[in-house]
């Protein structure tokens, strides 16, 4: 129960931080914001790595493997494509 309250506290505070920062992102950067935040949400990768590496059962290893593939596509594809886009935004 106690860990749940701690986790909830972190959850709620992080949402506030998110709202504060994201409302300041200008519309011209909304697409990179989506792809970039998307890449960050691939953080599930660390959960996937634990499942794939713990090898508790065959099923969890397979699930972990697919999850590592999915999350890595999300992370690598997301950061790279965001970088590619942001490089194009130039001043006069």
């Amino acid at each position: 129960m106690e860990t749940l309250v701690v986790a909830l506290t972190i959850f709620v505070l992080a949402i506030f931080v998110g709202f504060e920062i994201i409302t300041k992102v200008p519309p011209i950067l909304h697409t990179p914001l989506m792809s970039g935040s998307n890449a960050i949400s691939g953080i599930t990768l660390i959960g996937a790595i634990l499942s794939a590496g713990a090898k508790l059962t065959l099923l969890t290893t397979i699930l972990g493997f697919i999850a590592v593939v999915f999350a890595t596509i999300n992370v690598v594809g997301g950061f790279l494509v965001t970088h590619r886009m942001l490089k194009m935004f130039k001043r006069k």
């Binding site: 697409t31 599930t44 999350a71 992370v75 690598v76 790279l80």
Partner: protein
């Protein structure tokens, strides 16, 4: 001590993500921000690899290699105009990964170790539902944007009821899982039901409403990651998931506000259904009033102009006209004409779509103006050049309170001295209504594909 070290590293990673997002608040700092985020991710992954639970690396390594290869190919090959599809696909993979991780954690914790508590089972159910909805919803959005499926909204009788029931069944099965997490296979039944829900939720959303769907799926993918964080009791997942969830929710709100519609209205795909009535009015609005012009005539208009505002819409993306538009803007500027771009928040198929295309064509970002900034300047604008936009410049939003786009903030191009509209035909936009702008006294229509029209205009300008 060992765990403390891992958790401290996760804290640093979370801080880097926050700095990274903060960097995205300005184009100058955005690249650095994105790199900071990537470093945070690398740190989190490396630290996880030294976790004691891990007994072998070959499966992890194989997954990382396959995923990286696919990710790199996608990121390098994708065209800027196809960015909405790309983001939809990436959202989907993130959501899918969350569902699988929660499923694996359920087996490990309940079936192998035989432990469970309320937080764990509630979070697992949430992760299963949100992740599967995100995965399948994103795949449908991808297929629609890639035109594998029709981009039109799909409606069937009793849709609301069917969607509502499917959602209800998902919640009931989810609750069942919460109370009996040890029932084998129940989680996967929940995932299948949620997958159907994900498909049902996105099929009624079409065309110009896609920015909302993409933003919402972005929020879902964040929430799925946060739910998985509760499953694993992992703070970096919770923090990151809620950051991304907040981001998606804000973008969804911005998109809905830019269309003056409620989220529910968009999700039901309720726009443009009263088409029978609109047909009649179309005749009255267009009859004998639409003036078509040649590129030469329009070039003459530019010759006497001092300020031009270019208004791109989805049509510019479809015809890949952004590079030609850049050449036209440069040509006009070389003749001392002030050129700016007016960007409607929902122009295109995702938030910021037009900005990315114009940036790709090397148009400096200072020239890309938001709706609130550019609207007061149309009265001092000699020519407003509309390329493949329709509903976002439709004055009916201001004048006709019974219109489906009533109250939607539009770009007031009709206030400019002259308006040139490049469009292939008079066919209505996504809202399915006629546009009195095309019949305006000060409007000239150039019926042509976007790119070809711009190239013709450039040729005509160079001759004159």
């Amino acid at each position: 001590m060992y765990n403390a070290l891992i958790n401290l590293s996760y804290l640093i990673a979370s801080a880097l993500f926050i700095f990274g997002l903060k960097g995205l608040t300005h184009p100058r700092t955005a690249i650095r921000g994105n790199i900071l985020g990537a470093i945070g991710m690398l740190l989190a992954v490396v630290v996880t690899l030294i976790d004691r639970q891990i007994v072998g690396f070959e499966v992890i390594l194989a997954g990382l290699i396959v995923g990286s290869a696919v990710g790199v190919i996608l990121a390098v090959k994708i065209q800027m105009a196809a960015m909405p599809q790309m983001v939809a696909l990436l959202n989907g993979f993130g959501g899918g990964a969350s569902t699988l991780v929660a499923g694996a954690a359920l087996i490990e914790t309940v079936h192998v170790r035989g432990i469970s508590n309320a937080q764990f089972s509630i979070a697992t159910a949430a992760s299963g539902i949100i992740g599967a909805v995100t995965f399948w919803g994103s795949l449908v959005a991808f297929a629609k944007l890639q035109e594998i499926l029709s981009g039109r909204p799909v409606h069937f009788p009793g849709q609301l009821l069917v969607n509502g029931l499917t959602g209800l069944i998902a919640i009931v099965v989810g609750a069942w899982l919460v109370f009996t997490p040890d029932v084998m296979g129940l989680y996967w039944i929940l995932v299948v039901i949620s997958s159907i829900l994900g498909i049902l939720l996105v099929i009624p959303i079409g065309g110009a409403d896609m920015p909302v769907a993409i933003a919402l799926l972005n929020a879902y993918s964040g929430m799925a990651a946060a739910a998985t964080g509760f499953v694993l009791n992992n703070n970096v997942l919770i923090i990151t998931g809620s950051l991304v969830g907040a981001s998606g929710i804000i973008l969804t709100q911005i998109m809905c506000r830019a269309m003056n519609r409620s989220l529910f209205n968009v999700l039901m795909g309720a726009v443009g259904t009263g088409a029978g009535e609109g047909r009649l009015k179309e005749e009255a609005i267009y009859a004998g009033k639409v003036k078509s012009a040649s590129p030469e005539e329009i070039a003459m208009l530019f010759d006497s102009a001092r300020r031009v505002v270019i208004v791109p819409g989805y049509g510019m993306a479809v015809s890949q006209a952004q590079h030609a538009v850049r050449d036209l803007a440069n040509l006009l500027e070389s003749r001392g004409i002030e050129v700016e771009f007016a960007i409607h928040p929902v122009a295109g198929r995702m938030p910021g779509h037009m900005n990315v295309l114009l940036a790709e064509a090397n148009i400096p970002y200072e020239k890309l103006k938001e709706l609130d900034v550019i609207n007061p300047t149309f009265e001092q604008t000699d020519v407003a050049l509309v390329i493949g936009a329709n509903d976002t410049v439709n004055p009916l939003a201001r004048t006709d309170s019974s219109s489906p786009i009533a109250g939607m903030p539009i770009l007031n191009v009709d206030k400019a001295r002259s308006v040139v509209v490049i469009k292939r035909s008079l066919s209505p936009g996504f809202a399915g209504i006629p546009n009195p702008l095309f019949a305006g006294d000060n409007t000239l229509m150039l019926f042509e594909d976007g790119k070809k029209a711009i190239l013709d205009l450039i040729a005509a300008l160079k001759e004159s």
